[in-house]
């Protein structure tokens, strides 16, 4: 099991355990982490699992696909570190990954 830290918009930190191979949207929704909705069920078809990935984990993520880029483009506060949690698959390199949540999911 690996640790993931979700930090809500108002600063509340929630740490959960997930397994290698699981995506971060599913990890959050299975553990009832508020602020991650995952409306499309993890198909990169909405932007309701938008997160900001902290350093140093942000650089360890695979390059994003076109679809993720397009969908993120319609979020309200896209940043350089913006990703969709459903597209972040847990690997050993991501142990302890920390992500911040935007004010709202859209």
């Amino acid at each position: 099991m690996s640790q993931v830290h979700f930090i809500s918009f108002d600063g509340v930190r929630r740490s959960i355990e997930t397994r290698i191979g699981e995506n971060l949207m599913r990890a959050a929704t299975d553990n009832a982490v508020p602020g991650i909705d995952g409306d499309c069920g993890g198909q990169c078809a909405c932007a309701t699992c938008h997160v900001f990935v902290s350093a140093p984990w942000a650089e360890r993520l695979p390059v994003m696909q076109t679809k993720e880029h397009e969908i993120l483009d319609f979020t309200n506060e896209r940043r350089k570190t913006s990703r969709l949690a459903c597209q972040i698959i847990m690997t050993p390199e991501l142990e302890g990954i920390e992500v911040h949540m935007p004010e709202g999911q859209h």
Binding site: D39, C40, Q43, C46, K67, F74, N76, E103, G104, H106
Partner: protein, 420 residues
Amino acid sequence: MKLSHAEIQAAARADAFALPIEQIDPATADYFENDTVGHYFERLRRDDPVHHAHSPLFGPYWSVTRFQDIMQVDTNHGIFSSDWTQGGIAISEPPPGEAPLQMFIAMDPPRHDVQRKAVQPIVAPGNLANMQTLIRERTCKVLDGLPRGESFNWVQHVSIELTTLMLATLFDFPLEDRHLLTQWSDVATANKDVDPKAPTREERMAELHKMAAYFTRLWNERVNASPGSDLISMMAHNPETRNMTPQEFMGNLVLLIVGGNDTTRNSMTGGLLALHHNPAEWDKLRQDPSLIDNMVSEIIRWQTPLAHMRRTALQDTELGGKHIKKGDKVVMWYLSGNRDEEAIPHASQFIIDRPRARQHLSFGFGIHRCVGNRLAEMQLRILWEEIHKRFPVIEVVSDPVRVRSSFVRGFTELMVRIPA
């Protein structure tokens, strides 16, 4: 003799499962007016999930009826175009001689992207939070003013009133004229070919021109004023939308009016009807109002206020084993996908504490996903929170009257009575 609701449903079910498959045309207006289309969709999902039909009104088209196939179409805008130059987003074609409305939902990237982004900030999280108090005050006022002990039309007194007030706020539209917004919304989606009661083409165009004139006046007032936070100001002050053509201006107005009006209005009515038909679910709600958030998503799935969105294939492609040809009209039936048991367990039941209730198709997916979804959810949540505080019982006293349309799935009448 008028058939009962149950008799109409039974006859439709028999018909849906007896018809030769190639004769099934789910865009038949009667099916929507009688609310029998679900039987035909069930047959198609089982026997021919990507189905070709020839509609006497709309010509040849594909029906996509399963959740996953709909998702595939909705998220591949490079193959399945929304652009008005290709035919736009509804099964009906613009009447001959009428210019198609150029709204951003009916555009492909990059034009779509810049216009959508011009209006999107109005529903940003901070703005929604600011609107919450106003929405609650109005909801309370409307509910407190409802008649007791006598029957009234919920559509008129609650659904239309609340959504029109909201829309007037978003446009900063004079409240005393807000009935015009409802009128324009209804006219914009009316189709005389489908509904004989609809206005004629001339009446329709005259009304839309009145709308354009009214909004042009507001635009002119605001374009030279300091930027306000309403939709008109936002478009007037954004370089990407400031110089829209008249067709784009009119198109985007229709989009925002219909998008912000018809949809939530019909979910406000549909939710009440669903609870009336499912008394055990209403009991759950009475006992645990914390279910309201989840129930709102379930109501939106259940109602599916826009029954479909249409795309046009930009190239030959394959979908669910069928060969779609370049130029083919492809209709994603959200209403059918939202009843697909393979994607949604017990999809034919209304369950307010359903797990993963948010995973429905009513807002669409991909780049055209509903821009106002969070606002709609908030309006519905507040409505049900305030209903819960006031009315343990709202009796539905007759069958609803439904809109005769395969696009807007809604109601013109739902007679109810709140015990005195």
